[in-house]
Every structure is written in C-alpha cells, then in structure tokens.
C-alpha cells in the first residue's frame, strides 16, 4: 500500500503544481514570496491539526472534536495569560496539557468502552462547545501580554525579495515544520508509530502479534490533543486575541486536508508527506480563488468533490480486489 500511497502523493503533488501554474497565470501576486509566506502562515494551524488527524485516521478513527478542542484551548490560554501573566513555556504547557486531557478522555472512551470514534468525538465536540459558551458567553479575549504579541511577530531566516523588501519566515511556519518533522519521525522511527499503522491495517493481527490496541488508540487521540494545544498557541499568536467561535466547523477542513492527502478513512494508510501536500492544496486553492476573484464558496465545493472522488476511487479499488479473490479453493 505504500506504493499506492506514494502514487497518491505523486498525484496530489501533480495536481498542486498544475493548480499553482493555473493560478500564477492569472495572478502575478501568487508566486511572490510574501504571498506564499502568508499563505503558509495562515494555514499553519490547519497543518498542525492535520498532522494529528493523520494518525487518528490511519488507525481507522476520526476526531470531530478537534475544532471545539482547539477553540477551548485558545480560551484557556487567553484567560491564563490575562489573569496570571505567565510566560511562553507555561502557556504552551497549559495548552498542551489541556489538549492531552481532552484526547485521553476521547481515546479512553473509544478504546476501552468500544464506542465508535465518530460518536464519542461528536459528543465531546458538543459538550466542549456548550461549556465554552457557558464560560465565555461568546465574548472575545483581548489585552494579551506584550511578550506574547512579540512572540507572534518573530520571523527567522530573513532575506531580501526581488523588490528589496526584507522577508522572513514567521515563527508559526517554523512551529508547523517542527511538528511535521516530529510526527513524521514518530510514525517512522518509534514502535508506537508502527503500531498505529498495524492497528489500522489489521487490528486482529495487531492483537495477535502482541500490540496493546487500547494504549495505541489512547495515545493517538492524546497526541491529537497535544497538537490541538500547539495549534491553539499558534493560532492565538497570529490573531493576538481570542475568538471562541473561530473554529466552528474547522474539524471538517482538517479531515478534508488529510483525506485529500491520500489517507484512507478505512484506516491503514496515510502519510505525513501526503498530509502536508493536502494542507498545501487546501491553502493554495483558497488563496488562488481569492487572488483570481472567484467566490470562496467554490473552495468548499471543489474540496468536497475531491474528497468524494478520492474516497470512491479507494472504495472501488478495494471492492474490485475483493471480488477477484477466490472464495473457494476449486480443484481443477
């Protein structure tokens, strides 16, 4: 399946290149470094979340509570910073700890109580949203400390673009890249990462070979929560304020990016490279539509079509394979 996944990744890469060529033919802004950097910065949060969702989807699960989780975590760190001041490390710790707790609760219900992931996370999404509304009344949090605002403005690797302007890579993109690298290494170089693939590929075999399925699933949802925490800090550092409603419906974009990136909702395959490409695709599509003055609702329609196409391609291929398998060992 790696070969198949790789060819899927190649396809999404080709589509991405074609899309970029089309957009740059109609807009001379698109390929400008500042536009590309902005595009990446604005999608760093989507990207960070999609990394976690990749693991969840590889195990054959789904996490619909991520939008609500990241929203409540932004509120949490917003209140934390406004109330206690704190520092960057503590803020990260609070966000990440909150996310991991949400993830452990989701994962435990899914793995131990054997409730379908879609049910558990739909429920926790609703609960989190309700609690958050009760707590914030929908009001925004402003007046974040100056040190945090400064953190959000950090840029690294500065260079001069063609026009002589100084451009740098924002910290948010760096965070996304570090998380992508970390998640990639986790999947490739830890036994937990391989167990994620094994559980998604064949849970019965995974159990027979001695993998602790419960622990693997709980880890995966907890890791998703960890990344939701990182995403909450990243998002707040871009926005410099907290809007409790900023993430309504965001979970679907996250799932979409992962699926467009070639992961199968049936579990067993998916890759970090594919997901990064999927996120880039969503980002470029959105940016391109804005630059070419096409209404952005087209983004939703196009992404929807691509998901359905990608998934049906998967299902049809699987069915065809099953049909061609002999059911009886006929003697000839």
């Amino acid at each position: 399946m790696k070969q198949r996944t790789k060819s899927k990744e190649l396809w999404i890469f080709i589509i991405l290149v074609v899309l970029s060529v089309l957009i740059s033919a109609r807009s001379n802004v698109f390929l400008r470094p500042d536009n590309l950097i902005d595009l990446l910065k604005n999608n760093a949060v989507l990207g960070i979340m999609a990394l976690g969702m990749t693991l969840v989807i590889i195990t054959g699960g789904i996490d619909l509570s991520v939008g609500a989780a990241v929203a409540v975590l932004t509120v949490l760190i917003g209140k934390f910073m406004v109330t206690f001041g704190g520092n960057l490390l503590l803020t990260f710790l609070v966000a990440v700890a909150g996310g991991v707790i949400i993830g452990i609760i989701n994962g435990t219900l899914i793995a131990r109580a054997n409730i379908p992931a879609i049910v558990v996370t739909l429920g926790s999404m609703s609960i989190i949203n309700g609690l958050m509304l009760y707590y914030t009344n929908g009001s925004w949090i402003n007046d974040l400390p100056a040190w945090f605002i400064d953190f959000g403005k950090i840029t690294l690797f500065k260079f001069h673009d063609a026009g002589g302007n100084v451009v740098g890579i924002p910290i948010q993109i760096i965070i996304f890249l570090i998380m992508a690298l970390l998640t990639w290494a986790l999947l490739k170089y830890t036994l937990m990462g391989r167990a994620v693939y094994a559980v998604g590929g064949n849970p019965v075999s995974a159990k027979r070979v001695g993998i602790n399925i419960e622990r693997t699933l709980i880890f995966v949802y907890a890791y998703m929560g960890f990344l939701a925490g990182v995403a909450a800090v990243t998002h707040t550092s871009i926005m410099r304020q907290v809007d409790p409603n900023a993430f309504l419906g965001f979970e679907l974009q996250v799932v979409a990016a992962v699926v467009v990136g070639g992961a199968s909702l049936a579990g067993g395959n998916g890759s970090i490279i594919g997901t990064v490409l999927g996120v880039l695709f969503m980002a470029v599509l959105n940016n391109g539509l804005i630059l070419t003055h096409i209404p952005t609702f087209w983004q939703k329609i196009i992404v929807g079509l691509i998901i359905i196409l990608a998934v049906s391609f998967d299902v049809i291929q699987r069915k065809r394979m099953e049909k061609s398998l002999p059911r009886v060992d006929v003697e000839y």
Binding site: R4, T190, L191, A198, V209, L325
Partner: protein, 504 residues
C-alpha cells in the same frame, strides 16, 4: 519416547455458554515432529489452537507444560515468548506494511522496544528468510505478494522470534500443488532445526505425506493420538466420524417430476462443473466441508453470485437468475445461514416479522395495511408452523432459536416458493427443536415443494434428505440415494473426493 516433549497439554476443557467446545482434550508435541490435528468441522481444532495461541483461556484445571515446566499462556505475547507461533489461515499479517516489517514486528514487540531501528528490522528479516532459504524483496508492500509468498512471510515471522513450535492452520488451502511441495520442503528445513509443527488440515493425503503422528478430535473430545503407521485414510475418517446420536428418520414422500435442473454451473474461484436435479417434493441434501463451495452454489441459484457459465432450467425452461428479486419472482426462496443476522428483525414483534413478507397481500385501500387481514394471516402461519408461545406481539429476540427459525420459515412460506433453499437450518438449535424443524421440512416437501438443504451435520442430512450431494473443493464429488448413504461414505467423499480421481 525418551525425548522430553516440547509441549504437553492435559485436561483441556473449554465451555462457551451452552456449548462444550473442548472436553478433556490432550495434546503432546515432541521437538522436531510434524503432528497432524484432525477432526470434522466443529470438532474443536480451532478452539484448541486459540488456547495455544493465548487468544482463549481454557477452563480451570487445565495443565499445560512446556519443556516439562508448567506454562501460563494468558495472552498472545506469552505464547510468542514461550516459543509458540501460530500461522493462521489468513496469516494475520499487515497488508499495509513491508515484508521486512511484517517479519520483524513480532520480535520487536516481544523485546519491548520503543524505537524502530530500520537496519535491525531488515537484518532480522534477511536472517529469517535466509534460514528458510527464500528470497523476497524486503521493501515490498505485503499485499503485493501472492498468497504463497505471504505464507512464507508468516513462517519467517515465526522464525524471527525463535519459535520452537509452529502451528499451521490449513496451510495448504490456498496453495497450488507446486506451492504445497515447496511448503513441505520448508517444513523439512524447520524439522531439521528441531522446530515442531502442528499441521491442521482437511486434506488427508497431504497429512499422510508430511505428518508423523496424528491427534484426532471429535465433537470436542480427545479420541486418540496415533502413529502414521497405525492409520490409513479410511481408518482416520472412521475415527473422526465415530458413532453419534442419529435423528429420527423422517418418513419420505414420493418425489415428483424434475423442478430444477442445473447444468455445468461454473464460476471461477467458487465452483466448477456443478450439475444436478431437484424434484418436486424432494429434499436434496448438500453437504461437504465448510469452504467446499456449497453456499457459493446455492447463492448462484438465488442470484447472489452470478456464475460465469452453465445453465439453470426451471420446469424445463431455461432461466437467467441475476438478482434475488428475479429468483423470488421465479418462485425460489433462500434462507441463509445465521437466521438472526439475515432473516429476522430481532427488535420487532413476531407478527411484524411474518407480515414483512406478506405486505403485498395485506395492502388495502390507499396503500394502507389491512390490520385485520394481517392478524388473520399471521395467526394462520404461527399455527401452521407451531411457533411457541403463540404470542404475535412478542419480540422476535425473545423466542428460542428453534422458534426463531420457524418464524423465518413462516416468512418465506408466505411467499409460496416452489423451491426453498435453506442453509444450515438447525445450526445452534437444541436437539428437540431440530427434530421439529426436520418434520416441518418434510411436511413442506410432501406438499410439493422442492427443498435444497445445506448441512454440515451428517445425522441431519441422513435424517431428512431423499438424496445427498457431496461437494469438495468447488466440485460435486458424490451423489447418494438415501438408502445407500452412510456417514462414512459421505465423509470419504468430502475428504478425499471421487474414488479413482487424482487429487492434490
């Protein structure tokens, strides 16, 4: 036998709710021997394997010794650490991982590692394959390998964690003859290393080629362990079949003209060259081992499994059956195995279940249901089939297995089929209810219905059928009139095929 056995199992019992799957079973495995485990469908072989693999726990009182020392196998990883490896029929591999990972995974987990060392993974895999004398591309995705090669990966995985005892469950069932020969060579290699093999197979000829000792199970009981020289195929079959309680022979009615004729029905990977007739008023028993292709054939008659070639005649007229709707339109009814899953809406009442099939008949004005008519018809069928208790409003899930099966029958009878196909009609039903279902089937036949009954239970086949067809590996290998049919004759065909035919 002065050699210390690798494994001794004594007094292995396993009870599932209502079923005694294993009853004081024992097994002894010597280092480097090839041991055959044989028995009919449901004799308890799979349960015994699961206990060895740590998937199931035996009832208290069981004794398991490895190298003469008491062993505890609580979970699969324990079995692996004790040197026991199971190669399941489906191999239990990971289709989405590489060959190298599939081979090394068990070992890595057994060692409790946290990080993956890809160099080590490849080294482990290379060594295991070298021990087998096999070459495979380590980086290839497993699902891209043919079945026989996947099996080698499973064997290599067992070697990778130093297994001393490998259980192979139906290892040859999906292999060609050439592949079976190379598997036997591999088994020879394993033997030389002192690794014991438990070979579970329905193919007796293969067993006599490869195995040195045989342990026979029947109905969950230990029958005995025999040296190869003490046995031949006939004797082995009679040990497996034994003598069992027979059901009351149902009185037969006279059968009428040919209702259904099937000519050389063939579907690749399902069945080949199937020809038979079914008469009006006849019960035709179709038996054979599980996986012989029985269900695939009857599904072809019901439009669920369209054949590649061959002809079906109904009342002498050639018909093409491409969907269950067409089959039902032609007057064919099909009650699949597993009545709860496919035949009943368990959370609805008995009346609702029966009237589901009657909807056309009880539809009144404006498409509304005629409640009075519904009640009348439901009561009529409940009485005719003697569904007990006679409470139409009871939920289907509250009925006993036998009465559930009657409700399923009622549903189908309401459509007045000319031909009824029924798969394992009394599976999981107690003995008394079995006899009632048998009687009902005979009654239906005497009213002129043609019944094609699949059953793995030979006493049932003998008690109910007028004629018996036997399938083996996708082919019809025997037809017996009821007067000449015996359990031994049927099992001989089911296990060994037609006399005089060369079989793999």
């Amino acid at each position: 036998m002065s050699q210390m056995p690798f494994l001794q199992m004594r007094n292995i019992n396993k009870t599932f709710p209502g079923v005694r799957a294993l009853d004081a079973v024992r097994l002894e495995i010597l280092p480097g021997e090839v041991h055959a485990l044989v028995g009919e469908n449901g004799a308890g072989k799979s349960t015994l394997i699961k206990i060895l693999a740590g998937v199931e726990q035996p009832d208290p009182g069981a004794e398991i010794l490895i190298d003469g020392k008491p062993a505890n196998i609580r979970q699969p990883i324990d079995a692996n650490q004790q040197g026991i490896a199971v190669i399941y029929q489906d191999f239990s591999l990971f289709p989405n991982l590489t060959v190298a990972e599939n081979i090394s995974f068990g070992k890595e987990i057994g060692l409790g590692k946290r990080f993956v060392n890809w160099f080590e993974i490849k080294e482990t895999a290379t060594n295991a394959l070298a021990e087998l004398g096999v070459e495979l591309d380590l980086n290839l995705q497993l699902e891209r390998l043919p079945v026989a090669k996947q099996q080698l990966v499973a064997i290599a995985r067992a070697l990778a964690f130093n297994a001393r005892f490998i259980i192979m469950d139906e290892p040859t069932s999906s292999l060609s003859r050439g592949e079976v020969e190379s598997l036997f060579k591999i088994i020879g290699t394993l033997k030389e290393k002192g690794i014991a093999i438990l070979f579970v197979s329905h193919r007796l000829q293969e067993l006599f080629t490869i195995a040195e000792r045989f342990t026979v199970l029947r109905d969950g009981k230990y029958i005995g362990t025999y040296l190869k020289d003490e046995l031949n195929e006939e004797k082995l079959i009679s040990l497996m079949v034994g003598r069992r309680i027979e059901f009351i022979k149902q009185s037969r009615s006279k059968t009428g003209p040919v209702l259904l004729e099937v000519k050389s029905l063939t579907k690749k990977g399902n069945f080949k060259d199937i020809s038979f007739t079914l008469h009006k008023g006849e019960i035709l028993g179709l038996t054979g081992l599980v996986g012989a292709g029985r269900t695939e054939v009857v599904q072809a008659l019901f439009g669920l499994n369209v054949p590649d070639s061959g002809e079906i005649y109904l009342d002498g007229v050639k018909v093409n059956i491409r969907s269950p709707e067409e089959a039902m339109g032609l007057g064919i009814g099909y009650i699949p195995e597993g009545r709860q899953r496919e035949g009943l809406v368990l959370r609805q009442s008995v009346a609702q279940n029966i009237s589901l099939a009657l909807l056309k008949k009880i539809r009144g004005k404006f498409g509304l249901l005629n409640a009075g008519k519904e009640k009348e018809l439901v009561e009529e069928y409940m009485e005719a089939l003697d569904v007990r208790p006679r409470l139409p409003n009871m939920l289907a899930m509250q009925l006993s297995g036998g009465n559930q099966q009657k409700v399923v029958l009622a549903k189908w009878l309401a459509t007045r089929p000319k031909i009824l196909i029924i798969d394992e009609p009394t599976n999981g039903i107690d003995v008394g209810a079995k006899a009632e279902i048998h009687k009902l089937l005979r009654q239906l036949a005497s009213q002129g219905m043609g019944i094609l009954m699949i059953s793995s239970e030979l006493p049932e086949i003998l008690a109910v059928s007028d004629r018996v067809l036997v399938m083996r590996r996708g082919r019809l290998v025997g037809e017996f009139a009821i007067e000449e049919a015996t359990q031994e004759k049927i099992m001989n065909r089911a296990f060994m095929g037609m006399p005089g035919r060369v079989t793999a």
